[in-house]
């Protein structure tokens, strides 16, 4: 089903990921313009990209007694983790590294952002920045376990941790159809680990920007880019996990992968603007008391199907 990696996939994957992230940013800019009643022109989706030269030329920040080593390590970790996580995501029939434990790899790379963002919050030696780092960890403790169960559910049905096998197991019906709870929890998890929209608590305005409050120049560019790359990576992973991968009529597999990824991205960007920031102290209890039992029950369904010889 999934081919071994041609050499060019290593280069194409990050470029493709960046392209998806840019699409999401552009769509977000169009939505923002509509809310602000600005006329939507051809340049509207591209205007946020002016941030890139703006941050490149901006002076790096220097504060009293920073931990520069951890600060820089953390800032770099976030986009790097996003790019590494795409290694196991098949696009059409091509995947960079078809690991037998692809799902766990994706999960591990996403969890790397915990360390990255905590370090990015600790580094500047500033109150609200550190509060932002703690908030990400608190949010992580809330979203991570439900997300793990959500990742596990399709793997149980496919009886494999290889992402290509999971996509192939959906030849009859998409997992999103009969694992709706896992799908929704997974999508919420994607927004949470890219700390966007309702899960932008670590960079909340109530703590003066939190994690991003002290970041300027390239630091800020890497952190902001990391958010959107993580969102794109999460959306791309949703396709083989829940939406049948590259399978689809008429068009070649890679177009179906692209169309489905863009659809998930559009949904997440739209949701991002529809909700206020969810405070982690409230979300933790919801996650542990409601979402974990729900996702455990959801994981039980494919487990019973497999035990009952549904394969």
């Amino acid at each position: 089903m999934v081919d071994a990696a041609p050499w060019w996939a290593v280069v194409t994957a990050p470029v493709l990921l960046a392209a998806f992230a840019l699409c999401a940013i552009g769509y977000d800019a169009v939505l923002a313009a509509r809310e602000a009643a600005r006329p939507i022109r051809m340049t509207t989706p591209a205007r946020p990209l002016l941030e890139v030269p703006r941050l490149l030329v901006s002076q790096p920040r220097r504060l009293p007694a920073p931990d520069a080593l951890l600060w820089r390590t953390g800032v770099i970790t976030v986009p790097v983790a996003a790019v590494l996580s795409t290694a196991v995501i098949p696009f059409g029939h091509v995947v960079v590294a078809d690991l037998p434990v692809g799902v766990v790899w994706f999960n591990a790379m996403e969890v790397l952002t915990w360390a990255g963002l905590w370090m990015a919050g600790w580094g500047p030696n500033a109150v609200f920045s550190l509060v932002g780092g703690y908030r990400y960890v608190a949010q992580g403790l809330a979203y991570e376990l439900p997300l793990m169960f959500a990742l596990m559910t399709p793997a149980i049905r496919a009886q494999s941790l290889r992402v290509g096998d999971i996509a192939a197991a959906q030849s009859q019906v998409w997992f999103a159809v009969w694992m709706p709870v896992a799908f929704v929890v997974y999508l919420a998890g994607v927004l949470a680990f890219s700390f966007l929209g309702p899960f932008s608590y670590p960079v909340g305005q109530d703590i003066a920007g939190g994690l991003l409050g002290e970041a300027s120049g390239v630091d800020r560019l890497l952190l902001s880019a990391g958010r959107w790359l993580l969102l794109a990576a999460g959306s791309a992973m949703a396709v083989p996990l829940f939406l049948g991968g590259g399978a689809g009529p008429v068009l070649p597999a890679w177009t179906w992968s692209a169309i489905k990824t863009l659809a998930v991205l559009a949904l997440l960007v739209w949701v991002r603007r529809r909700l206020p920031v969810i405070r982690a102290d409230r979300y933790v209890e919801l996650a542990w008391v409601v979402l974990i039992p729900l996702t455990v029950l959801q994981a039980l369904v494919p487990a019973l199907v497999v035990l009952g010889g549904g394969r």
Binding site: D67, V104, A108, W114, A115, M119, V137, D281, R282
Partner: protein, 186 residues
Amino acid sequence: MEMAVFWVLAVPALAGGVLVFRCGSMARATFALLSSLICVGGEVVLLGLPYLGVVIILMMVMEMVVMAVFMIAYMMNPAGLTPMSMVHNKRGSAVISVAVFVALAAGIFLVPWPRRAGSPPPDTTFQVGVSLMGGQMLTMITLGFVLLATMVGATVLATRRGRYDRFGDDLDRRPAHDPAGGGVGR
């Protein structure tokens, strides 16, 4: 090739371990330990156990971040802005750690390792699962519940507030009287 990867991971793993004791800053010590453990995870992948290796990375990142939170909450001078030492009882700890290292290293050379019979399966995850869970399913399930009960019990014992503080003397106050409300409204 494998040898090269082994050394590329082994040297930073050791260096990270040494750095844990050289850093004055709790945060740096924690992440030095994390980098060491990530390298160990890579070594386990190299041994042909990708599941265990990647899970080590995943769990260690989470654990070290949570540990960093507690280290910084409860240690004096967590940023290491003034000189401090991570080592107590220097002589004793040196003796113990050298002894353990020598014992383990001697084990590597002295144990009569069996010769590989046949070829490794393409996907070792399943074998790991069977050997962990196959014969010991009951043990693993019991262990899991014991661990969970220990954690819950420790938390309940540690907290000062009980249900009478929350729900009143007749346990009929709704919503509960909490310093900070939760998300479900119990």
